[in-house]
Symmetry: C2
Subunit: 327 residues, 2 copies
């Protein structure tokens, strides 16, 4: 397939999963629970995780319809993390729309998030026969890592000592773990050999790292219209992203003072975003991020060597698509 | 066994499960996540749900140690519901101690609750081989019902129209569903026959209904020291319990006016608790609650007829223990 064909394929699968997610809420009651849960779950998004489940099943020779329910499951689960993270981050907007706790209220958002976890397990289990119970364990391990990653992320916000390693461990758990689980679930349900499962898991790990670093970069240098979130939002929230931590490691003199001020003030003000962007650029943190993204991207592609050659292209295309993305 | 022996047996199992829950957090990090999760999970409680798992396995001829992990699982899960419910109820105290979001903060409580769900699945899965995958489905169905029940509970708070039936459906999902799942999990993992699983599931359903009605009653007429929560708390929070709804159905004249005022004011003030208690008593709502509790208790015991006779006594003892409880 050409790159254009992969785009069409992704788009087709994305729409299919969206319709399946919509159907997942059909006939459920009470509306007080499922209207808000459906609001977030049907609120768009890349549907990257479901796509990983789908192409991983295909990569090991299975048909995509073997894993439709688990593809829905990882998306429902991902949306749970968004709802609860938005509460913790006090975020007002998500994908250009009001976040759940803003549109409804805190209690509704907490509970809608909880119900998305339960629905995610329900859908995952629809694809699982007894011999697939390992897949449920993988999913659960990912959930544990995602919670740990979110906690590490909160820790970083108030941490006085921090390193690039802390940051990378945090995003591995918070972001990459679910991408890994998505590939593992697809590959295992598809009947993949151990070395295939491992290959796709490593691919997703490295893709996840590149993807999250790219997300940090887009937060600062992205186009607000495409990004759907406020540019510089991480700075306003006082998040210690890779860019900040890397700059802090390298900074001296006045730059260091400014970065220390960021920590003391627990974030930047709106009119300081340009200042910090300049400091990050001057210290090479933005270039370093780009290089690291490239490195993880290349590792992701190298991980595919145990996947049959004719099955690799869509994974390679996906790396390129995500790394060039504007949102 | 005599009743005294059952008390000792329960107490022994309770302590064993407590030590297993304590161990479940050993070596877990980050502390920012697991110290709060452990604070609530190790904060005492009846350990009723784990006991149901244990005695259900025994009732079908299995050894208790077959289900220790799933016994831990239902307790961890129960504690997740407490943490998130306390957020939604704005509750300050739980078992006489500060609630999690008061001791720590909102974000920590949301995330600690989430992690308890993940740990619950992790422990449940430790007891499950491939052929036990149905048990994971039961657990997931219970989680869905618990979320729905909590949402119905919130709905009731603002509802202008409500019936005893609405209330009973709400507590079936919010409280009884997890007790049912506990018995089903114990019986299924223990290798019980279908009719045994169904018997124990029905037992737990009716026990759960009696238990929750008793909880409502204790909230109003219990002893604060034993109850560990503020007496009349449901009234202060504006909860429409069985007592309120039943009294509302029966009330006329001045009593009806007072009950309507409760709805308009979204609850009672501290100095109105005695007034409402008197209205409930006068209208016979308290007697009705006692009768309903008796009815469910008898149904619970009758459900046991497909359980071998020598295995029934502990279940009967448990009904009596819970219905006579002060906390």
């Amino acid at each position: 397939m050409s790159h254009k064909d992969y785009s069409a394929f992704y788009e087709k699968q994305r729409k299919l999963i969206e319709s399946k997610i919509e159907k997942a809420f059909d006939g459920l009651s009470p509306a007080s629970l499922y209207a808000p849960a459906s609001y977030i779950a049907n609120g768009g998004g890349k549907r990257l995780r479901s796509f990983l489940v789908q192409i991983s099943a295909q990569a090991v020779g299975a048909k995509i319809n073997r894993v439709y329910n688990s593809a829905v499951a990882v998306e429902l689960f991902h949306n749970f993390t968004l709802v609860h993270d938005d509460i913790m981050d006090n975020a007002d907007k998500r994908r250009g729309l009001p976040t759940l706790h803003v549109k409804y209220d805190l209690s509704t958002a907490v509970l809608a998030g909880d119900s998305l976890i339960a629905l995610a397990y329900k859908y995952l289990l629809k694809d699982c026969r007894g011999e697939d119970i390992d897949v449920v364990k993988d999913f659960t391990s990912a959930m544990i890592e995602v919670c740990e990653g979110q906690s590490l992320d909160k820790d970083l916000e108030t941490a006085k000592k921090f390193s690039v390693e802390d940051y990378l461990e945090m995003i591995r758990k918070k972001t990459a773990a679910l991408l890994q689980a998505s590939c593992e679930i697809g590959a295992k349900l598809g009947g993949g050999a151990k070395k295939e499962v491992r290959a796709l898991s490593n691919y997703a790990l490295n893709l996840g790292m590149a993807f999250q670093l790219q997300d940090d970069l887009l937060d600062l240098i992205g186009d607000e219209k495409h990004f759907g979130k406020k540019v510089g939002g991480d700075l306003l929230e006082g998040k210690k992203t890779y860019l900040f931590i890397r700059a802090y490691e390298k900074a001296k003199g006045n730059n260091k003072k400014e970065l220390k001020r960021f920590i003391e003030n627990k974030g930047a003000k709106e009119d300081e975003i340009d200042l910090y962007r300049e400091i990050f650029t001057e210290l090479g943190a933005i270039d370093d991020a780009r290089n690291l993204i490239d490195e993880y991207s290349r590792k992701a592609i190298r991980s595919l060597k145990n996947i049959r050659e004719e099955k690799r292209d869509v994974f390679i295309w996906l790396v390129e698509k995500l790394i060039k993305r504007q949102n």
